[in-house]
Amino acid sequence: MKESRKTIRNLAFSVVGMFAFAFLLVPIYDVFCEITGLNGKILGPSALSPESIKEEEKRELLIQFVTHNNEFMPWTFKSEKSQLKITTGVQQRVLFVFENKTSKDMVGQVIPSVSPGRGAEYFHKTECFCFEQQKLLAGERVELPVVFIVDPSIPTEIGSLSLGYTLFDITDQLSEKQIAAL
């Protein structure tokens, strides 16, 4: 019976360990996507150090902006330009318009994605509204900027990058207190 007890203990530990591993997969997945740039994940604002920009690598690149409302999100959400010819290594600024045309105060949140996914790691944003909870009162309209710079070391076979933004309605997920605090 002694050996049995040992076997059972080890197996029970494995079960607990694998349950924990399922949750560990979440950060592993994020880190993996961040390192490899898969899935077009860009995490928060980041800056490109000026020393690392090489003049001779600078070139023209087309950036396209795609804005998209998630289901049931009634706001108007647009970029001032649908596309922009930029020079890599030079800081750019684009305005995005948010308008809450409904009669109730709402909170929205924008999730970004860059495609092709391989280009995500060369796309640096110094100022962005993404991941921030944006509150708009009924009828309110705001213009928010995205300031970004594209690393000139971006592979030459990438001729254009799309910056996609999806706007989600998160009003219901927040308590009244949280909304008032915004």
């Binding site: 059972i8 197996l11 029970a12 079960v15 360990g17 591993f21 399922a22 490899t36 898969l38 997920q173």
Partner: protein, 529 residues
């Protein structure tokens, strides 16, 4: 180990208790095995009835019998029931019956836990099936329950579904702990691991797979639960989560799961082919190594279920090649079965017929699987009826025929009576013809582009779908014949000798016990030389 034998000696040669409490409180491995097998048989008819509803609706194009919402519930529940309620419990039932008898033990290592792990199952499926009678209906998001379909857009009953998955998982985990503990610690003296019957080997590996992946499934549904009720965003892009993460975690469980549903069948078929070819299994140790390699590889191939989700080229290539690699150990097994039959003195009793059909038809399913691993081709096949044909070929004439072979092979041992050979052969031929009639045309409509999971389809697919529906109905009703054969074998029939099949004595310890075997299988441990 000797203590176990002694305690069972103490309360001596008592038989089972009487009445309903025998089944409620039983800790006997045979009783629990019987419960598992009957439960899975009942679920086969419930899940089968759902398949009949689906095939009736698909008999001709257009909507005639049911609404799309109900169709979705039928496909989803059919899948969930067949996977978690039929194939897995049937294998656990066979394991409960056969493992102690094959390794020379009196019972399972943890008899009370065994009782619990069985009785969790009816609870889980009562919860799952009850959702079909609730207002928004039962789960309708496919058995793979991809988020956000199963979170944001799910019917409210999804919470019942989540808890029933939790309970099924707990049942499987407890069952696996029991099986591993029994196999590792209760083998008869002299029965080394590399002498162990292949059914025990296949279950030892399956149990390890279950221990590794059922907790991951539990984690997945827990994350869903938290997303739905506690405002987390594991799979919700609005909060920074990712729906694709769901697919990765799900298939990290899901791919080992498909091997969980086939490995024990490999074990059964090895015994049956060896017995009826009157030869020992060819390449025993390569069979063991092949089982182990399949199990290890199953952890690094999951993303081949999601080639079209938008993976980088390196990922697609990795998962394509690692998946193709699985064909090698599987091929070893198929060749070993054929080599066992080669120059054997074969007789074609019902279990052997099912085993041979298993080898042939499982190989077809394996080959269509290989076609699906080819990334550029997979973009064409993905989510079509070709996939449906593929996994039904490995699960129905694969796993289910494996279970049938096992039931026919061992039922004379269990009941002490031979089954009706004529009816058994009739059952085989009806099943064999109808299963091919059902699933073979699905390859064609799939290649022609018919998508899965829809209650309606384009007119050009009508003929093949009508054929599939006719086949499905014949297959479904043929299983009533199996029910009759099983009941008949329990009640009457020619008395079976202790070795049942010619020269079976040398093929496993179970054939040294009388038929039916004593309530506590081996009260004195046999010696294996």
């Amino acid at each position: 180990m000797s203590t176990i034998v002694e305690t069972h000696e103490d309360h001596g040669h008592h038989g089972p208790a009487k009445g309903l409490t025998r089944w409620l409180f039983t800790t006997n491995h045979k009783d629990i095995g019987t419960l598992y097998l009957w439960f899975s048989f009942l679920m086969l008819f419930i899940g089968g009835a759902m398949a009949m509803v689906v095939r009736a609706e698909l008999f001709e194009p257009g909507l005639q019998i049911i609404q799309p919402e109900f169709f979705n519930q039928m496909t989803t529940n059919h899948g969930l029931i067949m996977v978690f309620g039929v194939i897995m419990p049937a294998f656990v039932g066979l394991a409960n019956w056969m493992i102690p008898m094959q390794i020379g033990a009196p019972d399972m290592a943890l008899p009370r836990l065994n009782n619990l792990s069985f009785w969790l199952l009816p609870m889980a499926f009562t919860i799952l099936l009850s959702t079909l009678f609730m207002e928004p209906g039962g789960p309708n998001f496919g058995w793979t329950f991809y988020a956000p379909l199963s979170t944001t857009y799910a019917p409210d009953t999804v919470t019942f579904f989540i808890f029933s998955i939790h309970i099924m998982g707990a049942s499987s985990i407890l069952g696996s702990i029991n099986i591993i503990t029994t196999i590792l610690n209760m083998r008869a003296p002299g029965l080394t691991l590399m002498k162990m019957p292949l059914f025990c080997w296949s279950w030892l590996i399956t149990a390890y797979l279950l221990i590794a992946v059922m907790p991951v499934l539990a984690g997945t549904v827990t994350m869903m639960l938290m997303d739905i009720h506690f405002g987390t965003s594991f799979f919700n892009a609005a909060g920074g989560g990712d729906p694709i993460l769901f697919q990765h975690i799900f298939w990290f469980f899901g791919h080992p799961e498909v091997y969980i549903m086939i490995l024990p069948a490999f074990g059964i078929v090895s015994h049956v082919i060896s017995t009826f070819s009157r030869k020992p299994i060819f390449g025993y140790s390569s069979m063991v190594y092949a089982l182990t390699s399949i199990a290890i590889l199953s952890f690094v191939v999951w993303a081949h279920h999601m080639f079209t989700v938008g993976m980088p080229l390196a990922g697609e290539l990795f998962f394509m090649y690692s998946t193709m690699l699985i064909a090698i150990p599987t091929g070893v097994k198929v060749f070993n079965w054929v080599a066992t039959m080669f120059k054997g003195s074969i007789s074609f009793e019902t279990p052997m017929l099912f085993a041979i059909a298993f080898v042939a038809l499982f190989t077809i399913g394996g080959f269509s699987g290989l076609m699906l691993t080819i990334v550029p081709a997979d973009f064409q096949y993905h989510d079509t009826y070709f996939v449906v044909a593929h996994f039904h070929y490995v699960l129905v004439p694969g796993s289910l025929f494996g279970i049938f072979a096992g039931v026919y092979y061992w039922i004379p041992k269990w009941t002490g009576n031979m089954y009706d050979e004529t009816l058994g052969k009739l059952h085989f031929w009806l099943s064999f013809i109808s299963v091919n009639l059902t699933f073979f045309p699905m390859h064609f409509v799939g290649l022609a582009g018919m998508p899965r999971r829809y209650p309606d389809y384009a007119l050009q697919f009508a003929d093949f779908n009508a054929m599939a529906s006719v086949g499905a109905f014949i297959f479904g009703f043929s299983q009533l014949l199996l029910l009759f054969i099983v009941i008949k074998s329990i009640r009457t029939g020619k008395k079976a000798s202790s070795e049942v099949w010619e020269d079976a004595k040398g093929r496993g310890l179970e054939w040294t016990l009388e038929s039916p075997p004593p309530y506590h299988s081996f009260t004195i441990q046999p010696e294996v030389k």
